[in-house]
Subunit: 404 residues, 2 copies
């Protein structure tokens, strides 16, 4: 008998029929003795419908009122799912974010969870009820409704699981697990049975959009085992946990990639202390997020080349900022390229295995793929290449590291 | 500078355009220096849409969850109206029933308001904000969302006005005020400038469906001046207050009527103590509401005839109950008629004027309208007549009491 938190996204509860199907699935867990807390999103389409109404009134709707508006989406779902459970003879009780005391800061539309008081829910679980909680929403210290931003329901689920000490947090989606890479690019991509939090963070941030990053961070921090599985098919999905795979397991877990990259370089800038801050300060002030950063100094010169990557949408504004800075910085030139992509090898195994990087570079070189930038972390090696090499690069590495 | 509570029903906020129009109207009050608290219903059609979804899941949806579901309707409106006010440069803040602490009992779907804590709203008003409150909903002592039942938004508005000591509570509807009688029956019906709470209660309960009865009772109890006016047209509407009209005013304020009446008679029942209770007890146990009750004893007989009226929908079940009782009661016969209507003269003025009743009966007699039952109160005289006389009766009395 376990305590399980299950999260169903908007597609999984997108119609009355699907809500009934979710109720039936929950009942199978109840029937085998598990206690279940369910976290749900708004029915798919609802949030967009509400946003559209708001936009007809205000171009930039008041953020506090936007949260009041959007939070009705999940509130509809919790009521309907509770009814569907009751209709199956399964006692249920719904809670809005405010009712279940999901306390957040007061940053409307992207609030962060501070604490959850699980006491009420625990009493209900004791009484044999299934608990249905509105994801994506919380309440600040003043009693204002807040929302966690798109995808925030994953975070709500993990936070509930942490607060209740749940045995597992199950995230139901429209995919059946985490894959070694995107099957649309490499049809031989394989579903992973397990993956570590750290690996999942690298996979998620690099383009596998199955799970919200914050939810994975949260789960890692509070050691909540997380499982990604399909709402529509049977199967064990992928378990994300602290435990690493057995030693004989693969060194590399998967290959992530991101298409939306752009690269900017300030060439021949005098190599003085503080130059990196002078370049990145204005970029950051413009709310442009920087991903990879590389600085090279040629030994025999007093100048340096400074390169970084940004989201492709931020390429033009970033270029403008750099061009305006070129003269005050005494830089020789500003260059850029928004036709690049990033491909990353991810795996906790690489920590203890030398030679992964050289094997990666060799495999790419053999296919004539030129590497434009390299960046590494403990469990990841990323390369930036021309965008025309994305598919070839992913498939080449998938093959080279025996991920089929 | 006044403190005004305004209530807008579902039709008045039925579209984005109408919400904008309501915001513009509120702004005119703000611009002249009034402080405004607005109570709104769900956009028209929304409540029915939600009920329909629930019915697809459960034939009799769980009442607690039904309230969670339905309360989203007003929550959408408060957010959108607050945005519309902000878009006009009018600082606004929304409150759900729970946030504004509209405390109710725990009778889901027809909760009654126990208390409202106006403190938070007062602070916001001080800060120059217009307050937008979700009508129809509240919260019980356990934090569960409750709803007040159809039309409950009127009650929410009056309760807010009472809690805040508002100068006036304005109910915006699709009619421009209270009329001397239904203009669809008597085109010469005249809008009343003022009416007392007592008169309004008699008018409302007898068929003028402009205001919810509970709201009028509440307003009378807490002495909140209530004004009914149109969302769509300019005008002062009708003020409902404690003050009676000036002495020279009309004795009669209006003529109410009800089509949905049925009459039942137990004939020749032995005239013993407790007979009324024996007849009405089982009726009441079947949740059938009784309106008029008349008992006549012929001096020379030991039996009595006992007559009462019920809603036409309750006629058949009431008749069955009486038929089953006829023998144990030793009654001679049970008779009934569901083709009757009730017409009532209403006016506080009649308290001090003799002869109103005889003038009424004379006018009806002159037109050949046979009176089947008569019932009187301090400010009302009602007669039951055959339903074919409804229109003629109303017009005759409207003329006879100079209401044009």
């Amino acid at each position: 008998m376990s305590l399980i938190v299950q999260k169903y996204g908007g597609t999984s509860v997108g119609s009355i029929e699907r809500i009934k199907a979710v109720a039936a699935r929950i009942k199978t867990y109840r029937d085998r003795g598990d206690r279940v807390v369910v976290v749900v999103s708004a029915m798919s389409g609802q949030t967009d419908r509400l946003i559209d109404m708001a936009r007809q009134i205000q171009a930039r709707p008041n953020p506090r009122e936007m949260d009041v508006l959007l939070s009705t989406g999940e509130q509809v779902t919790i009521a309907l799912l509770s009814m569907a459970l009751e209709a199956l003879g399964c006692p249920a009780k719904s809670y809005t974010g405010s009712q279940v005391h999901i306390r957040t800061d007061n940053v409307h539309s992207k609030a962060r969870i501070r604490a959850i008081d699980g006491a009420r829910v625990e009493a209900d679980l004791e009484a044999g009820r299934t608990i249905v909680v509105a994801g994506f929403q919380g309440v600040d210290d003043e009693g204002n409704i807040t929302t966690l931003g798109r995808g925030g329901s994953d975070t709500s689920a993990v936070a509930m699981a942490a607060a209740l000490g749940a045995d597992e947090c199950q995230i139901y989606t429209d995919v059946d697990g985490i894959y070694t890479t995107d099957p649309r690019i490499e049809p031989r991509a394989r579903k992973l049975d397990r993956i570590t939090f750290d690996e999942m963070l690298e996979m998620a941030s690099l383009g596998s959009k199955v799970l919200q990053i914050r939810a994975v961070e949260f789960a890692g921090k509070y050691k909540v085992p997380l499982r990604v599985l399909s709402s529509f098919e049977a199967g064990e999905g992928t378990l994300i946990s602290l435990e690493e795979k057995a030693v004989e397991g693969a060194v590399i877990s998967g290959i992530a990639f991101s298409r939306d990259e752009a690269k900017l370089t300030v060439l021949g800038v005098p190599d003085q202390p503080g130059v990196a801050h002078k370049i990145l300060g204005p970029i950051s002030e413009a709310n442009i997020e920087v991903d990879m950063i590389i600085q090279n100094v040629a030994d025999d010169e007093a100048t340096t080349d400074f390169t970084f990557t940004v989201h492709r949408n931020d390429y033009e504004p970033a270029l403008e900022i750099l061009n305006a800075m070129a003269r005050p910085l005494a830089a020789r030139q500003v260059a850029g390229d928004d036709r690049i992509v990033k491909i990353s090898l991810v795996g906790v195994g690489m920590r203890s295995h030398a030679g992964i990087a050289s094997r990666m570079f060799a495999a790419l070189a053999k296919e004539g793929i030129n590497i434009r930038m390299i960046s590494t972390s403990e469990i990841k090696i990323s390369v930036v290449v021309d965008e025309r090499y994305l598919e070839l690069g992913v498939r080449t590495l998938h093959q080279a590291f025996d991920l089929h």
